[in-house]
Symmetry: C2
Subunit: 251 residues, 2 copies
DNA sequence: CACTATTTGTCCGTATGTATG
DNA sequence: TCATACATACGGACAAATAGT
């Protein structure tokens, strides 16, 4: 019983934050269910117990549970309690860290890519500056989602130079990114990547079926050609409940 | 002028989110200032302009600016506008990705460690399970903060087996973690690490002087000895505005 | 068959915060 | 600045379903 409360982690709520208390409690429970710490069928502590551990009123704890019930993540029964109810429980996807570049593209035969958008358009000023193009040059913009077993876990946004109108959504979905560069004779000489974290925007949240503002793992990738010119810019956001970079070192 | 709005990124506010609108706008501006996209002295767009771009009322945009002024991040002058005012602007710290293990400890001579807590105590059930210890065995628990030029950017929480009472806060602050393992004859044969993202808890937020709930880069590290027994567990949280993992590949 | 403890469901009144025009 | 509407949070009270004694 008390073990379940420990499984919720050391997370606590912050009364001084503008984010509503019930929403903070909701997020803690939601994430615990989403990443599998509270598996299907688990009995969640009572409203009273939750209120005590998070130091909020019963109404606030109750609101959090009601919202979870509304999202079909738990079922509530008067006199019995609240129980976890979630259909799929996909394994978290582990990408090896040491071979980051290639792993991202050959990430697995069992993941699928959906292209949300593909267009040739003039980017905004900050992106134009990075590519050193004028305000008339069009670049290839894409927005894609990667899923495993039908569950989306990654969102990709990219600007690229060098593709022409023969590029189609189908090609983007069928071929790995590196393959496409070769097909269009785009030379990649140097790659810069950095890992960071950011909150999910409403657009990304909708595409990945998560709440907006949820902390996401962000990969920024800049690919340059032999002359040091930027040819590809990628921003990838991963749901940390379903995906993490993983590395094993044997000393 | 419009360029500045573009620098705020593609982030937008979500009216359907329980998080107050003014707080969402505040966060976008705050992060843009904190990570240096809006450098010192920059004139922030007017309340009217902000209200238009984020599609909120002028009062809401105004509230966001007022909160920033309260936190001393901007200065407001009637008839002139709102201007960025932030004292320190440390470079973001880049940790190389390919040599993750060692880089973390020798992260730089110019970073300092402060030990918030060091104690020998019996961990909770989930941690006991990982270490396979009973409910009477004490482990070494530490909580530390890493800073650069006086600005904290990383928070570390660890459980370790094998240290004895001769370990002091001073030793923890002076020596790198790998050195300490050698000093106490603790064998590390295998290391498992994973990168993820999570929102900052109120405790971490206070230690790193950021807002609670802010998306953070999380590194989990498990160190095992020759028998496969867990000897060290580390959870590191990094402020993405000040720290990112970085990798450069030349093909 | 009570009796009791637990848990969710519903209601009240009130104070404060948020967002708009 | 004001007036207004709505959301959040609290404490308290009571009803209804469930399970065990």
């Amino acid at each position: 019983m008390n073990d379940i409360l420990e499984k919720l982690g050391t997370r606590s709520v912050d009364p001084s934050s503008p984010t509503p208390l019930y929403f903070q409690v909701y997020n803690i429970l939601h994430d615990s269910i989403a990443d599998g710490r509270l598996p299907n069928g688990t009995k969640i502590p009572s409203e009273k117990a939750l209120a005590a551990t998070f130091d909020v009123s019963r109404i606030t704890a109750r609101r959090a549970l009601d919202e979870l019930a509304l999202k079909r993540m738990v079922v509530r029964h008067r006199g019995k309690g609240t129980f976890v109810e979630h259909r799929y429980q996909p394994d978290t996807i582990h990408a090896p860290l040491d071979d980051l570049m290639s792993s991202l593209d050959h990430m697995g035969r069992d993941t699928t890519v959906t292209v949300l958008e593909m267009a040739f358009r003039v980017p905004g000023a900050p992106v134009r500056e990075l590519f050193s193009t004028d305000d008339k040059t069009r670049l290839c913009y894409t927005q894609r989602v990667r899923s495993k077993e039908g569950v989306p876990f990654g969102h990709y946004q990219s600007w690229s130079r060098g593709f022409d109108r023969t590029l189609t959504k189908r090609k983007l979905e069928k071929h790995a990114r590196l393959e496409l560069f070769r097909m269009y004779d785009i030379e990649i000489a140097r790659v810069e990547q950095s890992l960071s974290a950011v909150g999910a925007s409403p657009e990304v949240a909708e595409a990945l079926n998560i709440r907006s503002g949820k902390p996401m793992l962000r990969l920024n990738r800049f690919s340059y050609d032999g002359e040091g010119q930027l040819v590809d810019q990628l921003i990838a956001l991963y749901n940390p409940d379903l995906f993490r970079y993983h590395m094993e070192t044997v000393l």
